[in-house]
Amino acid sequence: MTESNAGRIIELKNIRKSFDGETVLDGINLDIHDKEFVTFLGPSGCGKTTTLRIIAGFETPDFGEVFFDGAKINDLPPYKRQVNTVFQKYALFPHLNVYENVAFGLRLGKKLKEEEISRRVKDMLRMVNLSGFERRNVESLSGGQQQRVAIARALINHPRVLLLDEPLGALDLKLRKDMQNELKNIQMQTGITFIYVTHDQEEALSMSDVIVVMNEGVIQQIGTPTDIYNEPVNAFVADFIGESNILDGVMLEDYKAKFSNQTFDCLDKGFAKGEAVDIVVRPEDVDVVPVEKGMLSGIVTSVTFKGVHYEIIVDIGGFKWMIQTTDFVAQDEHIGLYIEPDAIHVMKKSKYSDQFGDYSSFSDELDELSVNTEEE
């Protein structure tokens, strides 16, 4: 990411917003660059949708400034902004057919010739693979088709920025994957800045140029998907994105960390000597070895077959680790673990320390439950 002023299309400066005395956004600072695919990622209630609605103009911030192309737009109504939105449940106009829904934005403002409208609507429908659906009633379409109409409708006026509010939330898994690819293609084809809101970390990782991780109205981390995954800044980010073992540790000196009563080589530096830190080790970065070759050892308490790998829980000194391995190990087996220096990521302590990272109460069911409740 460059810090030059030139590429910035949207700037949010110290945005605060509360509803009925409840703080929803607590000082959001964010630059969004032209032609980027930016994703706001976070659990429900983290403020991502409110941020999006402030950019769209449906909400005004209590405090702070919104800039578009360098001009302040706090009080500009939504219908004067060069941004368009794909709504969560599509919000297609039920009294209009597919063609008229897409043409809606063209029929406002200056008069266009009907041929011009028709040409642009047809182009747009071709882009979202809905050619031939012009006369269809929008309520007769499947969820995925309605989704495409919503995208075509929002893109017809060539907005500078397209806002997408959990657009794939209502689709089933398979369709969701296909639509992810299509959305990414449309973004690259049109060169429009996409701001995408989701609580699905996989979706965020696979589509975005930049991910903005939010929680409790505060931006936790901004970075590329690999940054976010490999170098989470705190326990919240580490836990929310992917699976993580998060342990209490101490930084002995640069490149030396101590956790689980062992000293490990690592690639991190710049911490005070003896500073208490959080250590992240991703489950797939741990090698299972015989006990005598291991840097750590423990008892396997559960084994789950996941297709490409086994997911095992290992009890090491009372802390339960999750490890993904392709080698079969049996329950109650005593195994050793080997961790490469580059598999260890050291984070400063934060208010999220000790809240996440232990798999002692882990179960797949709970995981799924929490995903479902997030979808509201």
């Binding site: 449906f58 919000a91 406002l108």
Partner: protein, 267 residues
Amino acid sequence: MKTMSRLYTTLIFVFLYAPIGILVLFSFNVSNSTGVFMGFSLDWYKELFRDSATLAALKNTLILAVTSSVIATVIGTAAAVGIDRMKNQYVKGALISATNIPMMNPDIVTGISMMLLFVFVGGLLKLDNNLSFATLLIAHITFNLPYVILSVLPKIRQLDSQLPEAAMDLGCTPMKAFFKVELPAIMPGVLSGLIMAFTLSLDDFVISYFTIGSGFETLPIRIYSMTKKRVTPDMYALSTLIFIAVLLLLILSNVISAKAEKKPKKK
């Protein structure tokens, strides 16, 4: 069980339609009796179309029904939107309750209460004729309003709150968003409110009876004054024609609503 319920339903319908059948039958009677059928003729229909007072009353009734239902629909639709957007629950609740009073109150009370208002205000203004077409129109709009609001309000509540936002997002001002998106979406409710108001106004006797001025006569009022004496079958002929008209109107409105429902609702 099946035949039992079918028999029962049929019996109820015989009961409901017996007087209608009788009056349709006697509208074709040769003699002027409404008790003994002497033979078939269309004389009473011819008679009806020669009766200028009845035709004038019919015309008045239609004018009244059209104006009152249209005005009530405009005021009522605007009111329903306004009520839906109201933040203050107490004002909202009070207004809805007050709106419903004419629906809950007996017609005769609504009628005399408005009559008292008109008489009192007319007395203050020293008007010779306290009651006129205007008072009748006001009365009809008043009892039509709750029915319009009642049929529009649920449609507004069902409306996806994102629809106006989507319209504004695409470049509509709030006003344009209302007319281009919200109003078409609640149109079925508005139309059924209009039809309901129209038919209620067409049929109203009790409230009109107390609020109508002299020199103006609606059909129900004329029928009332005629049934004070011995009714001749031309009134039956008129009723038969109205019955057919209402039947057609009902079929029409059913076709409209069936068309609206044809859009298969996804979940």
